[in-house]
């Protein structure tokens, strides 16, 4: 037997921390990305692209108007040139800072894409011809439905499903995980990705995608943001801030006639200059959120990527935040992948050693983890070593769906193990008797959430093996947090209702779906959706595909079949179903970051009014000076300080936009209270000391 490296079982500790740093985490300000972003900030000044961001476009138009006026002032040598020059500079900085934020977010995606592209080297493929011979062709020549052979040490030439063989594969190119994984034909671990490498053994692969449409190609396009589309909430938010921009435009434009009226009526002072009005406008319109909105969205996608999840659209990430119901497969998500034998319960008149022996013999050829665990338990408890059966005349009976039993015929002994009903039928058919004490034992095991396997020899029942599901550590706490966040968890399992209920209770899920067929799963999703809920699920098998497609958030496992990957709107490259919970948290974090910065941005305006309005009308209405509660030292300095604050806050919040607001799993009420306090009240208060400090610095530097 070749040595296979078992896939690492994800330990609960690894995801105990919400939003723990992903594998692909990168420094926030990577030097290369910053350099590229700096250049891009200028490229993005192009009005033909900037108009898509209404807020920053208005700032750019304002800055452009200021530029013209500044040139006029320079030619006419008017006084106040120094002030106008500084305003001009800071208005352009405002646009550049916003561009920089977006470029930083995009840059992080691009850097990732570049890394991927490097791995996309041209490889050769050995294509199987009809006669069984192979021909060597470049990977780019492969088409759908070609069959290729890959030996140890070779790169898999394209995406496909294993149709024959089993191999360990290094998928670190895609997943960033160096431990090899097993790919085998049939079942749900058949999918392979082009660019990954076979480490041992060989596989035959049926290619499923044409060149240019491979998983790697799509991944590159996605992280580069080439296919980025605005998400529904982002569009709605954009409408709102565009509306606010228009309202402020009205407020500032009509301030001109009001000022003119006032100046004429009072007979002193002068109209505020256009540069001053533009400054007021730029300060009032929501530049903070306007400048950071797209960066937040891109960074959200990037964060998902850092967790090694590939989201096919931003919409899917956003939908994750809205999810009401999580469908979680029991196996691998809630429980450790495999059931383990934990106990042998003998039938009356049978010794434990006899039962253990029978159990072990029947499982020798059983390569399932359950089978192996029986062999191991027998060995640990009774010192029974795995025996060489080659000397004996042994026929192994594989498990089949009809008999629902497996076993061995060894030296005339017919040893079988299987589900209670099947073995009972089998034994009774041979004239044996199924002891009621064994039946009670099986029922007791079922009730406790375990799976009973009855072992028989000929017409005699030997006893029961207790197979137990091991619930992952920390899951109960997780589900409790989910409940607080208003998310209902539903466990999906093929087990009978009794077993399912016991495990559901142990894991602390809200509900379960027992003896679930793929159709049941699909029906459950439809039912939840029809009552207005959004459903998220994970899946890997081809028969999961319809449900994955139906779910609002469908996360396919990278180990799964290509059909599953195509159907879902996310692929988890680590194939860790528990990660669905993190994805939900990232989706929420994305929305919270947007909401918080919007609130902050609008709340900031209060202080700016107090800075600018008294300054504008100092000569007409000196009495308005009483609104100058920050005691800014001169009108020029007040306006300048507000504009500078407005520009700097964008840069100051770039890390927050890229990293996202810290998210805690709290109830909506608690979250709202907390965020309103920080970003609402904080947004009103923060600019006062900020503008005051800038005013002092400007004074000290003699700039205004």
């Amino acid at each position: 037997m070749p040595t296979l490296v078992a896939p690492e079982i994800e330990t609960p500790a690894a995801d105990a921390q919400f939003l723990a740093k992903g594998k692909r985490a990168r420094k926030l300000f990577d030097a290369a990305i910053v350099r590229r972003a700096l250049t891009d900030s200028f490229v993005k000044l192009n009005p033909a692209t900037l108009y898509k961001n209404p807020v920053m476009f208005v700032v750019e138009v304002g800055a452009a108007v200021t530029t013209i006026l500044l040139i006029r002032d320079a030619v006419q040598k008017t006084s106040g040139f120094g002030f106008d020059l500084q305003i001009w500079l800071w208005l352009w900085f405002t646009v550049l800072f916003a561009n920089f934020a977006e470029a930083m977010a995009e840059g992080r995606g691009k850097a990732q894409a570049d890394n991927l592209r490097k791995t996309k080297t041209e490889s050769m493929a050995r294509r199987l011809l009809s006669g069984g011979a192979t021909e060597t062709v470049p990977a780019s020549m492969l088409r759908k439905n070609d069959i290729v052979l890959c030996n140890a040490g070779e790169t898999i030439p394209g995406d496909g499903d294993v149709v024959e063989g089993i191999a360990s594969v290094d998928e670190s190119v895609i997943t960033g995980e160096s431990a090899p994984v097993i790919r085998e034909s049939g079942g749900d671990r058949s999918g392979v990705t082009g660019g990954t490498k076979v480490l041992s053994d060989w596989v035959k692969i049926k290619i499923v995608s044409n060149p240019g449409e491979t998983f790697l190609d799509r991944m590159i396009a996605l992280v580069e943001g080439a296919q980025r589309q605005k998400t529904p909430n982002e569009i709605a938010l954009n409408i709102m801030i565009a509306g606010l921009t228009l309202i402020f435009l009205l407020a500032v434009v009509t301030l001109a006639p009001f000022a003119s009226y006032s100046v004429t009526s009072v007979g002193s002072g002068y109209m505020p200059s256009i540069i001053v009005l533009v400054s007021l406008l730029v300060c009032l319109i929501p530049t903070t959120i306007g400048g950071l909105l797209s960066a937040i969205g891109i960074a959200g996608m990037d964060r998902v990527m850092q967790h090694n999840v590939l989201a096919m659209s931003g919409k899917a990430v956003e939908a994750a935040g809205d999810v009401n119901t999580l469908l979680l497969d029991k196996t691998g998500t809630i429980t450790l992948g495999n059931r383990e034998a934990v106990e042998f319960i003998c039938a009356e008149g049978v010794s434990e050693a006899e039962l253990a022996d029978g159990a072990q013999l029947s499982s020798l050829a059983d390569e399932t983890p359950e089978g192996r665990s029986i062999v191991v338990l027998a060995k640990q408890k009774y010192g029974l070593r795995g025996r060489e059966v080659a000397d004996h005349e042994a026929t192994f009976i594989p498990f089949s769906a009809q008999t629902r039993m497996s076993g061995v015929d060894l030296d005339g002994r017919r040893i079988r193990k299987g589900a209670t009903d099947s073995v009972r039928q089998y034994v009774e058919h041979q004239g044996g008797r199924f002891p009621s004490q064994v039946l009670e034992a099986t029922e007791k095991i079922s009730r406790s959430g375990g799976t009973p396997l009855v072992v028989s020899e000929d017409s005699r029942v030997l006893g029961v093996i207790h197979l137990k599901d091991i619930v992952k550590g920390g899951m109960k706490e997780r589900f409790a947090q989910m409940r607080v966040m208003g998310i209902r968890t539903v466990m999906i399992t093929g087990d009978n209702p009794l077993t399912a209920a016991a495990i559901a209770a142990e894991a602390g899920v809200d509900d379960f779906l027992a003896q679930a067929t793929p159709k049941d799963k699909l029906d459950l999703i439809k039912k939840e959706q029809s009552s207005g809920r959004l459903v998220a699920m994970t899946g890997d098998g081809t028969n999961d595909a319809p449900a994955l497609a139906q779910a609002d958030v469908g996360v396919a496992m990278n180990t799964g079949t290509m059909a599953a990957k195509e159907a879902g709107n996310m692929v988890d490259l680590d194939s860790n179903p528990t990660k669905l919970i993190e994805i939900v948290a990232i989706g929420k974090q994305l929305l919270i970051t947007r909401g918080s910065l919007t609130t902050f941005s609008i709340a900031n305006d209060v202080a700016k009014y107090f800075a600018i309005i008294p300054a504008m009308f100092q000569l007409t209405y000196p009495a308005l000076g009483r609104l100058n509660i920050m005691h800014l030292h001169s009108p020029q300095s007040a306006i300048l300080a507000a504009v500078i604050f407005n520009a700097l806050i964008i840069i100051a919040l770039v890390p927050l936009a890229l990293r996202g607001v810290r998210y805690r799993p709290l109830s909506a009420g608690a979250l709202l209270r907390r965020n309103l306090l920080i970003y609402g009240l904080g947004g009103i208060v923060a600019p006062f000391p900020g503008i005051w400090a800038i005013d002092r610095l400007l004074g000290l530097a003699g700039l205004a």
Partner: protein, 580 residues
């Protein structure tokens, strides 16, 4: 501020609080077409009306049909009023033989009454016949209020229903609101007012000789019947120019109290109707609480500044402290029979709601005392607000508040189980934008526009020549005029001669814009909400009841209003106050 004053304010609020539930319950049964204690008496009439109008009361309308019905009804009824005003000299019940009103004034007044604004750029008792007042104006007093109620109900149905295409039937809403709610209340109200001395006759005006021997013409007319609906329908258009300050309209402190009570009766009750219809009373009370906070803040501010008076009054030797014999404070433009507390309370209530009746001259308030009514209207009159208009305005702000802050809980914002998405945000912003642009653009233009000689629009020279004040107070007068029109309030700051084509037409347009360009987006929201499914409530749902949401809603209303209008206000009432 006196204990007596506080008690009256407390009594007023207490009575509104007490009547909110019974009124709300009654209106729910009416508008849902269920049996109530008036059904037996009025349902034959209701059915008769459906029959002669050809209305099938079981057929509902989509939002577009609802909007078209509303617009058509408004257009036809406004045209009718316009024609009546233009032809009043040919019509009966015109004992003073008033001639036809000018085209621009007739337009202004028709626009004003069809929109529930009731701005009056003329002196009614010297301009308008009894017939036009009784039928032309009063019909609009009923119909514009009933239409407002219907629109509010349509929006509430949008929240209450799911996967529905329709939001009610405009004609049914109009008839039910008029027949069961407005008419009975008005009859009772009018009889009560008559009992207190409000006149109701068709006599020619009385000419009396005063003690000094001067001749005085005293207006007469069918006042009481118009007065009740003027308050109940939050219309506010007075029979006399002096409005509710006139002793024939509002003779005693008791009538004054009842008139104020009428302003808030239906709007406050509607918050309960809302809770009832969406089957969550807490939501209705949350809106009631937010409105109450804003109302009380307004009253306290206005009362404080009016009672404090001004340094100018003090310098002129006026006693500012209240004593047993003297009210103290700023009594200019106020009726002694009402005093400061009741004038401040009336001014706040009439502008919180889109009523616009006045019992004191807002122009004579102190700068910040006068800022309260002005700012109330600029907030969109969502503090209880006009009949229907207050509720739908507040719901629009709730949608915005939920959207701004709702993202902060990490979910697509929801209000009452309905996801607030693109369409809702777009329409709410549109409504907000319409209000801001109408107020700011018309006021801005008027404050600088100049007219040539022989201009049709206005007397030659600047439009601001119509002002009786200059400086900040003059600006407040202009702002108030367009704010009042756009907000469909109709109260006047006074001090502005607005009966010129320029003012008549721009103010008329502002009233139309402020009403219909706000209603249409909101009906669109109603239609879009009705189609949506309800998202079930969970711990992750943004809680829209309780103190946190109430403070958020109040905050959004105030901050949006303040941010939009602060620059203009700072050059008006704010600087006026600072200059004192």
């Amino acid at each position: 501020m006196t204990l007596n004053g506080w008690l009256q304010i407390a009594l007023f609020f207490g009575l509104i609080l007490a009547c909110t539930k019974p009124m709300g319950l009654f209106m729910t049964t009416v508008m849902e077409g269920r049996k109530n204690w008036l059904t037996r008496a009025l349902s034959p009439l209701e059915r008769f009306l459906y029959r002669i109008c050809g209305i099938d009361s079981t057929v509902e309308q989509r939002w577009t049909q609802y909007a078209v019905s509303l617009l058509m009804f408004s257009l036809v009824s406004a045209l009718l009023l316009y024609l009546m005003q233009r032809m009043q000299q040919m019509l009966p019940f015109n004992p003073q033989h008033f001639g036809a009103m000018t085209p621009d004034l007739s337009f202004n007044n028709a626009a004003s009454f069809v929109t529930n604004t009731n701005w009056q750029a003329y002196t009614p008792e010297a301009t308008m016949s009894y017939l036009v007042q009784m039928t032309g104006l009063t019909m609009h007093n009923f119909a514009s209020a009933a239409a407002g109620l219907g629109i509010a109900l349509a929006l509430v149905r949008g929240f209450a229903r799911q996967s529905a295409d329709t939001i009610g039937n405009f004609w049914v809403d109009l008839i039910r609101a008029t027949l069961y709610i407005l008419l009975p209340l008005s009859i009772v109200g009018a009889l009560f007012l008559c009992s207190q001395g409000v006149i109701q006759n068709l006599h020619p005006y009385t000419v009396a000789t005063t003690l000094e021997g001067a001749k005085q013409t005293i207006g007469q007319g069918p006042v009481a019947s118009q007065e009740a609906i003027k308050m109940i329908g939050t219309n506010g258009g007075g029979f006399f120019n002096a409005n509710s300050a006139h002793p024939f309209e509002n003779p005693t402190p008791l009538t004054n109290f009842v008139e104020m009570f009428f302003i808030f009766l239906i709007p406050a009750g509607l918050t309960y109707t809302f809770g009832k219809m969406i089957r969550d009373m807490r939501q209705g009370w949350a809106l009631f609480a937010a409105m109450s906070v804003l109302f009380l803040a307004g009253v306290v501010t206005a009362y404080h500044f009016e009672q404090s008076g001004t340094p100018l009054l003090a310098r002129n030797g006026i006693e500012l402290a209240a004593t047993d014999a003297q009210s103290g404070g700023n009594m200019e433009g106020k009726e002694t029979r009402f005093g400061i507390a009741n004038s401040a309370l009336f001014a706040t209530a009439t502008t919180d709601a889109s009523c616009g009746a006045v019992n004191a001259m807002h122009d004579s308030f102190t700068p910040l005392g006068g800022l309260v009514p002005l700012f109330n209207i600029e907030l969109g009159e969502v503090v209880f607000g006009g009949v229907g208009a207050g509720l739908y305005g507040m719901l629009m702000f709730a949608i915005l508040a939920v959207f701004i802050a709702g993202l902060m809980v990490g979910r697509t914002p929801e209000y009452l189980g309905k996801k607030i998405e693109q369409k809702e945000v777009k329409m709410a912003m549109l409504a907000l934008l319409v209000l801001a642009s109408s107020i700011l653009l018309f006021s801005g233009t008027t404050s600088v526009i100049q007219f040539a000689k022989n201009s049709y629009w206005n007397a030659p020279g600047p439009a601001i020549a119509s002002l009786t004040n200059s400086g900040p107070h003059g600006l407040s007068e202009i702002l108030y005029a367009y704010t009042s029109a756009t907000g469909n309030n109709g109260s006047a700051f006074a001090g502005l001669n607005a009966n010129t084509p320029w003012f008549n037409i721009t103010i008329g347009l502002a009233a139309l814009v402020g009403r219909f360009l706000m209603i249409i987006p909101l009906l669109a929201v109603a239609g879009s909400l009705a189609k949506k499914r309800q998202v079930p409530v969970s711990a992750g749902t943004f809680p829209t009841h309780g103190p946190l949401f109430v403070s958020l809603l109040v905050g959004v209303v105030v901050i949006v209003g303040a941010l939009t209008f602060f620059p203009a206000l700072s050059l008006g009432p704010i600087v006026e106050h600072l200059l004192m």
